[in-house]
């Protein structure tokens, strides 16, 4: 097959672009977790905040990705480097599933368990770290899993603004009208998504509370 030949001949480049792709996805997921999990925890405890926060994350999700990349381009520090910009945009997209699942996971903890913990004299932070988070962790991780899979796909579009990644091969293939080049970008991207899905899924099951 042509794709196989193309990848064999250009394996250095494909590998490099795959690593770039991973970097975009990895950083954006990390940032989205650093923002989304605490935010999800806060809105789970303060009922008044959950609607505005979830609605905002929802709205971000509806912005077409290409448009979002375009909007962010003129922003001073960000626009200088396409990868920064791509990571920010991907972070924004990854927020919704992470915030929503953190919220759902914590709200889903049996109220009797929380009340027993509080009644026994656990502080609010002990309650969070010893009870709520361990019981919500698999739900939170399934949000992370969704976020990662979305990011792997969206990151291909980041190549349009020059952020690199496997999208570069896809766009090049489109320009050259060469399916094998498109596939050389698309297949590794699909594999990345599957591997990430599988990996986080396993972690999720391992951490499932009994």
């Amino acid at each position: 097959m042509n794709v196989v030949r193309f990848i064999q001949q250009n394996h250095d480049q494909v590998l490099e672009l795959t690593l770039e792709h991973l970097r975009l996805v990895g950083f954006s997921t990390l940032f989205a977790m650093l923002i989304g999990i605490p935010l999800g925890i806060v809105i789970a405890h303060r009922p008044g905040f959950n609607k505005p926060v979830l609605a905002s994350a929802n709205i971000i999700q509806t912005i077409p990705s290409l448009a979002l990349f375009g909007f962010l381009l003129p922003v001073p520090w960000l626009g200088e480097r396409a990868d920064r910009l791509a990571i920010l945009a991907l972070t924004l997209y990854a927020l919704l599933p992470i915030i929503r699942n953190t919220y759902t996971g914590i709200r889903g903890v049996d109220p009797a368990v929380v009340e027993a913990g509080r009644g026994m004299g656990l502080t609010e932070s002990q309650l969070l770290f010893k009870v709520e988070l361990p019981l919500a962790v698999s739900v939170i991780l399934s949000g992370v899993r969704v976020a990662v899979v979305i990011s792997v796909g969206l990151a291909t579009i980041a190549a349009a603004i020059g952020a690199g990644g496997l999208g570069e091969l896809i766009f090049r293939g489109l320009a050259m009208v060469d399916d094998s080049v498109i596939l050389a970008g698309a297949i590794p991207a699909a594999i990345l998504a599957l591997v990430a899905d599988f990996g986080v899924g396993r972690l999720e099951r391992r951490l499932l509370p009994r």
């Binding site: 049996d110 009797a112 368990v113 929380v114 009340e115 027993a116 913990g117 509080r118 009644g119 026994m120 004299g121 656990l122 502080t123 002990q126 010893k130 009870v131 361990p134 019981l135 509370p209 009994r210």
Partner: protein
């Protein structure tokens, strides 16, 4: 029976609790003496559970005050207060991700007990509540309802609190298991002499376990009586309770007649 002069362990002083405009509890005065089992008896919504939660400050009164061992609850560190009071609820609320051992030892552990002391205490408590030592390494979902509630009691006793609050702890159990746990509760109480506030809607349970029964209705305290006197009480509500529970044979006879 009760030493009249001794200062009460728990005292409600003219307590009201209002939520969203509804009086859940009003003008509530009650004293619980050291070592007694005071049963709060009443139907759903009568304010029993609310009263209990005011003691360990899961709720704060709208007016009035609750004193525990002579000190007003409002002036206490709430975490210290709760750790000095054992709390058992109907749904047990065991931590599903912890083994029985960790469930029981949570408070001792956060209090910084040594590992040896924790382990010894867990074994001692398992024995106290009639569970085999191997139970320690099991998870709540591997236990029966009765075993779970035993663990719940062991957990409440872990840090050896003087006061025990029990919110319908046996209501969700089948009658035979309930009977067994009630019997064991009595034996336990003979040995430990905790000051217990026990919430139930079951008169039979109240008569069996309580040293005094506080009858509640619509957020008010109707009367407080020892079990024997409760049965003879002229209070219309108390009498209605006694009639409603009757005894098993009477119900069977009624059925036969109709």
């Amino acid at each position: 029976m009760q030493p009249a002069a001794a200062s009460p362990v728990i005292e409600f002083r003219d307590v009201s609790y209002r939520v969203a405009g509804t009086e859940v509890l009003s003008g509530f005065n009650l004293q619980v003496q050291s070592g007694e089992t005071l049963v709060l008896l009443g139907r759903s919504g009568s304010g029993k559970t609310t009263s209990l939660k005011l003691v360990n400050r899961l709720l704060s009164p709208t007016s009035g005050e609750i004193r525990v061992k002579g000190v007003s609850n409002g002036k206490r560190d709430v975490i210290r207060l709760r750790r000095s009071i054992g709390y058992v609820i109907q749904d047990v609320g065991l931590f599903p991700h912890f083994t029985v051992e960790r469930n029981i030892s949570l408070v001792p552990r956060v209090e910084g007990w040594s590992e040896d002391r924790v382990r010894a205490r867990v074994q001692e408590l398992l024995q106290t509540v009639g569970l085999v030592p191997e139970t320690a390494s099991r998870y709540p979902h591997q236990l029966s309802g009765g075993q779970r509630q035993r663990v719940g009691v062991a957990r409440a006793l872990a840090a050896d609190p003087e006061i025990l609050l029990m919110d319908e702890p046996f209501s969700a159990l089948d009658p035979l298991t309930r009977d067994e746990l009630q019997r064991e509760f009595l034996l336990l109480q003979q040995r430990l002499h905790k000051t217990v506030v026990f919430v139930t809607h079951d008169l039979r349970e109240a008569l069996r376990l309580g040293s005094r029964i506080a009858l509640m209705e619509a957020g008010r305290l109707v009367t407080v009586l020892p079990p024997r006197e409760f049965l003879r009480s002229n209070d219309p509500l108390a009498a209605a309770y006694v009639r409603a529970f009757g005894d098993g044979r009477e119900s069977a006879a009624n059925r036969g007649m109709s």
